[in-house]
């Protein structure tokens, strides 16, 4: 759903998206210590592949995003990770345009960073079970927020917000469910066996 193609959004929205994405990527790279780079690369690769798993959902066709989980594990580094994944999806498979890369990156990475911040605040000193639950909520919420932001980008370009939002959010309810389960399993496991991976 974050694969908005070229020619749909208006100029100002594209420029705003590009600037916001550049700021996010710069911040993500600035905070990125060399030791964490392999982790960023791995999650970027996972997100790149996840978008190829396709679930038919009513009139649309949806796929996993995994941006919430990336935000929990990467924080601001989710911006460069998502930019790389989205760039290669656009170049190799034509999913989403190149001019809208900035907007698509912000639509996916901003909810990811937010999910990461909320997770960090709530999961501090929490039990493993609680951490898994918070991870589920954060990653489901990130998918929902991405849907709302996609509808918002369409609305800012003169399209009807309500119809787009209804279609995008409704078709992504199953994705939210799957990602919540997936994130709670993965993050719960990490919290138990390798808690430093979440820091």
């Amino acid at each position: 759903m974050a694969h908005i193609p070229d020619g749909v959004l208006s100029g100002p929205v594209l420029v705003a998206g590009g600037i916001l994405a550049a700021v996010g990527v710069a911040r993500g790279l600035k905070e990125l210590e060399p030791e964490r780079i392999p982790k960023v690369a791995m999650l970027s690769a996972v997100m790149f592949v996840a978008s190829l798993i396709h679930l038919p959902a009513g009139p649309a066709s949806v796929h996993l995003l995994l941006n919430g989980m990336a935000g929990i594990m990467l924080g601001w580094a989710a911006f460069p990770a998502l930019l790389a994944a989205l760039l290669l999806q656009a170049v190799l498979f034509g999913f989403g345009g190149l001019l809208v890369l900035g907007v698509n990156t912000v639509n996916m990475a901003a909810p990811a960073v937010l999910a990461g911040l909320i997770f960090r605040r709530l999961a501090k000193d929490a039990s493993t079970r609680r951490i898994a639950m918070i991870a589920a909520l954060c990653s489901g919420g990130a998918v929902l927020l991405t849907g709302v932001m996609v509808a918002g980008s369409l609305a800012a370009s003169g399209r009807e917000f309500e119809a787009a939002a209804r279609l995008v959010v409704l078709s992504h309810l199953p994705v939210m469910g799957i990602e919540a389960v997936f994130a709670s399993a993965a993050i719960g496991l990490l919290a138990r066996v390798k808690p430093e991976a979440l820091a």
Partner: protein
């Protein structure tokens, strides 16, 4: 970690199957433009609004794809036609039918009563090769495993370069 690795393997396994991008294919049958909208991977895009615009700037013809993603509309003149579909969640696709693909019996804005025999043959051939052209088009857009592997490699390469740059900066 083993569970994560297993999940990654499963993700990779499913990778070459399909993903979503709206595609459009159209061809000419007699005086009609016939086509279908679908998602990469083959799922039909049903109920998607679209329109056909002639090169002469006449008002566009609107249509909505049927349950099988298909549509059929008659055109009045021999000229380039641009067909576009756009779903409400921001997926869009475009296809151009060239003037030379339309039967010569179609003049500017006038329809001939009966088609001469040659154009009937042309129409029959067009009808028969349409599935082939559609299949080729779908095949071209299919996600291939080596693209996926290449993409993963490129991601690690990109971040590897960044790590190398960072380490040099720190070293000096």
């Amino acid at each position: 970690m083993r569970r994560l690795a297993a999940i990654l393997v499963l993700l990779l396994w499913a990778a070459p199957s399909q993903a979503h991008k709206l595609k459009l294919f159209a061809s000419v049958e007699g005086n009609d433009i016939v086509g279908s909208a679908y998602f990469v991977g083959g799922d039909k895009a049903a109920g998607v609004p679209g329109r056909i615009e002639g090169a002469d700037g006449s008002p566009p013809l609107a249509f909505t794809t049927g349950p099988d993603g298909g549509f059929r509309l008659g055109v009045m003149a021999r000229m380039d036609h641009t067909i576009s579909v756009e779903s409400e969640d921001g997926h869009a696709a475009r296809f151009i039918i060239r003037a030379e693909d339309l039967p010569p019996s179609l003049p500017e804005g006038k329809l001939m009563a009966a088609l001469p025999e040659t154009s009937q043959i042309e129409a029959a051939i067009a009808r028969q090769i349409r599935p082939l052209r559609e299949q080729l088009d779908a095949y071209e857009s299919r996600t291939r495993l080596h693209d996926v592997m290449g993409g993963i490699g490129m991601i690690f390469g990109l971040f590897g370069c960044w790590a190398w740059l960072q380490s040099r900066r720190r070293g000096s």
